[in-house]
Point group: C2
Chain length 298, copies 2
């Protein structure tokens, strides 16, 4: 049981977490804070949080746990606002999509990452944002990665596990660097490709309505593909900057692979093209079949 939970940044993620822990009866009181008073008022109106305080220092006073759910670009500034206003035993956790950069921010602010700071990242989201897009089930059955450091406090870690399990998530732990590599692959690279693809297509014939024609004749796959290009540009810009090394490594690798595939198509190398397509389909189908099997879905 958490007596007072402070959530800094009550948007899609912060708002959905608040809804879920409220539903689970895990907290006595949830206090919201952040820059956007309209969002915070809306969050109170919707019953997502109990009250808000625009001043982070007041919002976190006597909080048992502080969840920092702001864009990566605002992380350091928000952590700095906590200094001197939280209790020594207040647990801090975050939801940032790149963990090394959050660790750097914490070190810049606190000298070293506090033992009560449990870095976290829920693998969930939609292309929408803001508290009005938040919903109780966002984390249901989704995975949350925690990246504790060797000196992270065991009790703090257990409490953050509890928080996310109450929200319906499956909690796993991995190292900071490994997290950043895996997420660069599963999330950051696909988003960058989707943005780049839509941008390429839209600019193909800027004079005419080619942009519109492109979308008009887009079938299901393309719509799904480009849906993620409708995600919050600022958030994704921040992610690109925060996880730059892992992203650049992957972009370079992907470029090499795409060049090789392009060469195969250019040479009409039927076998070579088919080998790549088969390998990709097999890997994907293998995993999702196994997952569906495990979850009892046919």
């Amino acid at each position: 049981m958490i007596k007072r939970l402070a959530i800094i940044g009550v948007g899609l993620i912060g708002g959905s977490l608040a809804r879920a822990v409220k539903r689970a009866g895990l907290c006595e009181e949830i206090v919201g804070s952040g820059r956007d008073v309209v969002q915070l008022r809306k969050a109170v109106e919707l019953g997502v949080i109990d009250r808000y305080d625009l001043d982070i220092a007041s919002a976190v006073r006597d909080a048992d746990m502080v969840v920092v759910a702001v864009p990566l670009g605002a992380m350091e500034q928000v952590l700095r606002a906590l200094v001197g206003h939280i209790r020594p035993d207040t647990i801090i956790t975050d939801v940032g999509s790149a963990k090394a950069s959050v660790m750097t921010a914490a070190r810049n602010v606190f000298g070293e990452v506090p033992a009560n700071f449990v870095p976290g990242h829920p693998i969930a989201g939609t292309e929408k944002n803001g508290v009005e897009a938040s919903f109780t089930e966002l984390f249901q059955g989704r995975r949350v990665i925690l990246t504790p450091l060797p000196h992270t406090d065991a009790h703090a870690l257990a409490q953050v596990h509890l928080l996310w399990r109450a929200a319906g998530a499956e909690v796993v732990e991995m190292g900071v660097e490994h997290h950043d590599e895996v997420l660069a692959a599963t999330s950051h690279l696909p988003h960058i490709l989707a943005y780049a693809l839509v941008d390429t297509l839209v600019r193909m014939d800027a004079g005419a309505d080619q942009g519109e024609e492109i979308f008009r004749f887009a079938a299901g796959g393309f719509r799904d593909f480009t849906r993620i290009a409708s995600s919050d540009p600022t958030m994704w810009r921040d992610i690109c900057l925060a996880n730059r090394p892992a992203i650049i490594t992957l972009l370079e690798r992907f470029r090499g692979d795409l060049d090789a595939l392009t060469d195969l198509i250019r040479a009409s190398d039927s076998e070579g093209i088919l080998a790549i397509f088969n390998r990709a389909k097999a890997a994907r189908d293998r995993y999702y079949q196994k997952e569906n099997h495990n979850s009892g879905v046919k």
Copy 2:
């Protein structure tokens, strides 16, 4: 009213078209043909077609219309099987995803593209294939592109319009070359990127279970993105070969744009990254908002 409709290739597309025109009461009889007797038997069992004949020459005898719904790689061979077995007034249409290559196949077989040949392409599909994946509503509200030539017979064209409208589709016409450029952008490039991405990620750490780890931590966007990499590899190999010039042009353009974006990330050029992401999101949202508005959906 079509007395006898012959469908060569009763898979996802051919099967769904058969179901839809049957439901619409447009045909007296639908005869299926193709290479796969198991699929054809299943199609009769499911009531998708009335009967089948493995011999294309017999299947198309006295047909008023022949729909060729086979992979692009089999197109020329199937068209050749029609020679001498269809009536002079039999209408031929196809569903190939690249139209210039179908025109070449028709010219190779018939000397010139017959006036009764109406090239077509329904912008619909799923990542599944086979007649068991077919369903009546596949074309409902979807677009079908016809690419008639200057000498295409007006009556034949009108009949193919009728066929697809009966299946619930919106029919539009455009030139062969324009079709191939638009589809390279909206469909072929996204599929190639999805295959390439999945393949890159799966091979990242072939020794360990990295491939699985990648999928395990994939959130919604990535799943959508990679779902299209689960499409039929042979079909997509055929498309790459058939629409090679337009695809290569686009791949080169995309590569240039991706290199530029990579450079911006490498240089931590915050404004430059944001400009691209914003432009992509704006274009996509603009179109889908308009479309939702037009269709009365909020």
